[in-house]
């Protein structure tokens, strides 16, 4: 299977779709490759037929109005040579050839270890939302939403709308931090107001976090700091977001503080490779969209048109800075894990085995932390916060793939 086009976009979330739309409007051939069965990323998951907001509707209509080749269910795992990517699909390996590339790989939730966090039915906040969006009945289920970030509110409102009994939202940030955010984010107040109405009657507690999840074979109840003990069916817990930078690093793009480095045209340190959206720093929907548009225009050679969008991006960047300051994680969260608490879920590596290590590399060599199937995507965000370690190198394949996919590559 092969595909040749002018621009390939990796990631069909808002940034990727915005980039692809701009490329297609410029008259160039563009393909969007994404590992999920349908486009939309996490925020617009399952919204092709019933968009939940005007922004989603507007963008999904734009996408349908132009010629974009969508390659869904395809996981990019390797760059055999410059200008070529390989993706694994259920039908085999797909070879993508291009002039320019836009990486819109988004972000994942940050998970922090605490006793009981590996129990079934303890999930990410976005994790539980994704499951419900894709068919999990949640009506009448008791849910505690916890962790940090604006995602908690969106998730709680969504789950409640689907009939869940949301018992509590526990936000680790202090009320002082949140107050400053509330004032600073005035421009988003209509959005905040709508959320508030949907969440009427649900306690939102700041400076509150999960100390322990209890249960034997699955979650039964949680203990919270400043929240007592609460019996529940699901704990939806995520501590803000971590950019997905693995593919960019594989391609040799420089990163800084865990974000892909880009210039004003969203170009990475590798020529003709652009990055937009959460992979360049956590900033929310509007910033992702405008960065995607700029990347798409620049990739299509329309630098002047891209420049016109710089002020909009600047405005949204200010909001992003405020967002990240507000939801900065407090030091107390570094002490949630007990000695026997598992930090690396793939290899079952405990906190006590890790805390004596000097570096991520030493931890990998001595304990196999981060060497399982997720390749450190889950524990990496935790050890970065707990110990200040950051992954040192990314090697192909960037994701576990079938052996036949690798053999195919070798034989070419």
């Amino acid at each position: 299977m092969g595909n040749v086009c002018d621009v390939v976009v990796v990631g069909a979330g808002p940034a990727g779709l915005a980039a692809a739309w701009r490329v297609a409007k410029s008259g160039l051939a563009v393909s969007v490759v994404d590992d999920n069965p349908t486009a939309g990323g996490q925020i617009w998951r399952g919204e092709q037929t019933k968009p939940s907001s005007e922004v989603a509707q507007e963008w999904l209509e734009r996408i349908r109005s132009v010629d974009i080749q969508m390659i869904n269910g395809a996981r990019v795992f390797q760059q055999p040579e410059v200008g070529v990517l390989l993706a694994e699909t259920p039908e085999g390996v797909c070879e993508l050839k291009f002039e320019s590339l836009v990486l819109a790989t988004g972000a994942r939730e940050r998970f922090l270890p605490f006793p009981g966090w590996t129990l079934p039915n303890v999930m990410g906040a976005g994790g539980l939302q994704a499951l419900v969006k894709t068919g999990l009945p949640i009506e009448g289920k008791r849910v505690v939403v916890a962790g940090s970030g604006p995602l908690l509110l969106a998730v709680a409102a969504y789950l409640r709308g689907r009939g869940a009994n949301v018992l509590l939202i526990a936000e680790q940030a202090s009320s002082m931090q949140l107050l400053r955010f509330g004032i600073g984010s005035f421009s988003k107040s209509s959005q905040a107001f709508a959320l508030k109405r949907q969440l009427m009657g649900v306690p939102y507690r700041s400076g509150c976090w999960v100390l322990e999840a209890h249960g034997t074979e699955k979650l039964e109840r949680v203990t919270l700091f400043r929240g007592g003990e609460v019996a529940c069916d699901y704990l939806a817990c995520g501590f803000h977001l971590v950019p997905n930078v693995e593919l960019a690093e594989l391609l040799g793009c420089a990163t800084e503080e865990g974000c892909v480095n880009v210039d004003e045209y969203q170009q990475t340190t590798v020529k003709k490779v652009y990055s937009a959206g959460e992979s360049t720093g956590i900033g929310g929907l509007e910033l992702s969209l405008v960065e995607g548009e700029i990347a798409g225009l620049a990739a299509a050679g329309k630098r002047e048109a891209a420049q016109k969008l710089f002020p909009i991006r600047q405005k949204h960047r200010k909001f992003a800075d405020l967002l990240n300051r507000t939801f900065a994680l407090r030091d107390e969260l570094k002490h949630l894990a007990a000695p026997e608490t598992i930090v690396c879920r793939c290899e079952d590596v405990t906190f006590e085995r890790l805390r004596v290590q000097q570096s991520w590399r030493a931890a990998k060599l001595q304990t196999r932390c981060g060497m399982g199937p997720c390749q450190g995507r889950v524990c990496g965000g935790a050890v970065e916060f707990l110990f200040g370690w950051r992954a040192e190198s990314v090697r192909p394949p960037v994701l576990p793939v079938r052996v036949e996919s690798l053999i195919l590559e070798e034989n070419k």
Binding site: T118, P120, N121, V122, L128, T134, P373, C374, R377, P400
Partner: protein, 82 residues
Amino acid sequence: MPETVSLVVNGISVEMPAGSMVSAAILKTGTYAFRRSATGEPRGPLCGMGICFECRVVIDGEPHCRSCQTVCKDGMEVRTDG
């Protein structure tokens, strides 16, 4: 496209809205442990987006499938290892 699909999880038949993921179908049957960890702990889905690999199960005989990124199909046979 039919509105629902029917699949089998550990011998239990389950109906799901078309477009649902296998992970949701498994949970709907009351199965919460999708696999056992390296030290034998029960594990279920965490990230819901194909990152964590905790939801991997056997689908139609193929092991290590991420159930959160696999769309339910009529007649699918799913086996968990929890």
